[in-house]
Amino acid sequence: MLIKSASVATVLALVFSAGVVSANEGGHAAGWQRQADNEIANLPSLQRGARNFMAYCSGCHSLKFVRYARICEDLKIAPNQCEALLVRPGDKPIDYIKSSMPAADATEWFGKPPPDLSLVARSRGTDWVFNFLTTFYADPANQKTGVNNLQLPGTAMPHVLSSLQGVQNAVWRNVEQKAEGGQAIVAREFEKFEPGVTGSITSAQYDDFVRDTVNFLQYAGDPTQLQREGIGLWVILFLLLFSGIAYLLKKEYWKDVR
């Protein structure tokens, strides 16, 4: 029985580990990529993130599946503060958070409308968003925005947060690679960032700012997560207790089986 249980466990472990390995390989992790390290249970961080989003992101990006009132309820923001700090003038707390920019204008300015961010933390991942918001760098070759991005090269988005972060410069090194024909070609590889135009806050403060915002986006992508995990713990405890009692009952009946 024990050996058989072990073999089932091995099969399950194999099935699951196959997925874990593949899940980790979204792309090749480059040296500059960092983890968001946001804490979804950190309420003050989520509140700051909500404020950041409304102040810096909501001009262009919508959260079309999220209502102001829901945020204030989940993040324990008092109703008067909710109206004063989050709800955009002209909107009601019950409204969904729509972008204030007309889509036609956006397409004219950026080439495409800025995406809705309700689920960006789930489709791209929190680390991706964190790296996207921290790796803008000056790129004179881009005549439209003057910047480029390591996480999403060629992004249409301007560096909206440059007043906070400033604009950093990227330092590149040349690496020789073998092309398919065998001849050596020189490719450019990212080495490090150097301070360029300084912003209004330090780089550590900026990381915290982005971390809070990413945290809020994770909440927005899965608003019931905290509630779910709270209930889940009790469900699992109940099921374990149930299994234990069921096992004792089974054992009692099976005494007769010789």
């Binding site: 099935v15 979204g26 009952l249």
Partner: protein, 413 residues
């Protein structure tokens, strides 16, 4: 068993005169004798039934709030999980339930392979089970397409286009399945109808047949010997025990442990590292934006790996179809006298072990991009996959005939 009914008055007697309730319970549960030596592998049949019922019940609620269609499907899923009370729990239960259905079904099938449960007189039981598996694959695929996420869309492109490789009728067939020149509104509404009405009915019917066939031939057991061959003075199998209360109670323990694992995933890791719910499916379907690499959900990937292992698409599709259908012929490919792997030789054991590993490796390869080393590995393991079915008739005939015990091995605990 009319004795059960006699001597009882009141409502129960009234009821039993009109509906054979007691008779049914006696025939199916208290009077149905199952071998006493079932091990952990015998939990997965009842668990598969549990998951099926769970999928029906959660599906009823999801259907209340889901709006099939190109423009409505995605938004209605987001709306239900965010704004309809408790749908944040029920919708993920339904989505994660699909993966658990396949985990349970694969373990149930692995059990049959280990203990030769498909061998005479249980060939039809196995074939019906395989038909359930095929219907389940269709059901799961359509359910996966319905929310119209980006991976739903592109996965559906790949899978539906496979039908286009059938000579002659292929292109027309693809159009007929989609109801359009591309995957669109017509595809989603017909998939909804099939997913919610047609296939659940078919699966329920097949499950009923599976159970009727099981009652007819009786369960096999880890020793693979027939308990009906050794009857006691009362005419009951010496090594059999009534299904109720013994196995109903034992199965409830399995249910408790299974639901615990299920709850851990649903409450704490519903996407299961992007395996049960894939990241690109958190973006709506976008015909101009292909996900980085398209892979079906994990339970289809062994066959997907076989499809991609072949350079020629038509041949790949054919080989994939054969790889699924091959299971149907196991009762006749296996020519051993003994059923259980316990009483077969080392070569049989190695062959089966190799097949299990091959299936898991192909599952893993199907999730990988088809490039470099992965393609080479997929080819090697595709060959090993088919080697199992080709070698089985010879290996089983040669070393599946050793002595078997008179009675089942059972240690009281």
């Amino acid at each position: 068993m009319s004795a059960v009914i006699e001597g009882k008055g009141g409502f129960r007697a009234w009821l039993n005169k009109r509906l054979p309730v007691d008779q049914f319970i006696a025939d199916q549960l208290t009077g149905y004798y199952a071998p006493k030596n079932f091990n952990i592998w015998y939990f997965f049949g009842s668990l598969a039934l549990l998951v099926f019922v769970m999928q029906i019940v959660t599906g009823i609620f999801v259907t209340m709030h889901f709006k099939p269609g190109e423009t409505t499907a995605w938004n209605s899923v987001q709306y239900m999980v965010r704004e309809v009370p408790y749908m944040w729990l029920i919708q993920p239960m339904h989505a994660v339930g699909a993966s658990f259905f396949f985990i349970v079904v694969y373990l149930h099938m692995a059990r049959a392979l280990m203990y030769g449960s498909y061998k005479a007189p249980r060939e039809l039981l196995w074939v019906i089970g395989m038909l359930i598996y095929l219907a389940l694959m269709a059901e799961a695929f359509m359910g996966y397409v319905l929310p119209n996420g980006n991976m739903s869309y592109w996965g559906a492109q790949v899978i539906i286009n496979l039908f286009g490789t059938i000579p002659g009728i292929g292109p027309g067939l693809v159009e007929w399945i989609r109801g359009d020149y591309g995957i669109g509104d017509a595809t989603l509404t017909r998939f909804f109808s099939l997913h919610v009405v047609a296939l659940p009915f078919i699966i329920a019917l097949l499950v009923a047949l599976h159970l009727v066939a099981l009652r007819q031939v009786g369960s096999s057991n880890p020793d693979g010997i027939e308990i009906k061959a050794k009857l006691g003075p009362d005419g009951k199998p010496l090594d059999g025990i009534p299904f109720h209360p013994y196995y109903t109670l034992k199965d409830i323990v399995g249910v408790g442990l299974f639901l615990t694992l299920f709850a851990i995933v649903v409450f704490f890791m519903p996407t299961f590292f992007g395996l049960f719910m894939e990241a690109p499916n958190f973006e709506p379907a976008n015909p101009v934006s292909t996900p980085e690499h398209i892979a079906p959900v994990w339970y289809f990937t062994p066959y997907y790996a076989i499809l991609r292992a072949v350079p020629d698409q038509k041949m790949g599709a054919l080989l994939m179809a054969i790889s699924v259908a091959a299971f149907l012929f196991l009762p006749w490919l296996d020519r051993a006298q003994n059923k259980s792997i316990r009483y077969r030789g080392l070569v049989s054991k190695l062959l089966l072990g190799m097949f299990f590993i091959t299936f898991l490796v192909l599952m893993w390869l199907g999730l990988k991009p088809a490039e470099g080393l992965y393609v080479m590995l997929a080819r090697i393991f595709t060959a090993l996959y088919f080697a199992f079915f080709i070698l089985l008739p010879f290996v089983s005939k040669a070393d599946g005939n050793g002595p078997v015990p008179e009675r089942v091995t059972y240690h009281a605990h």
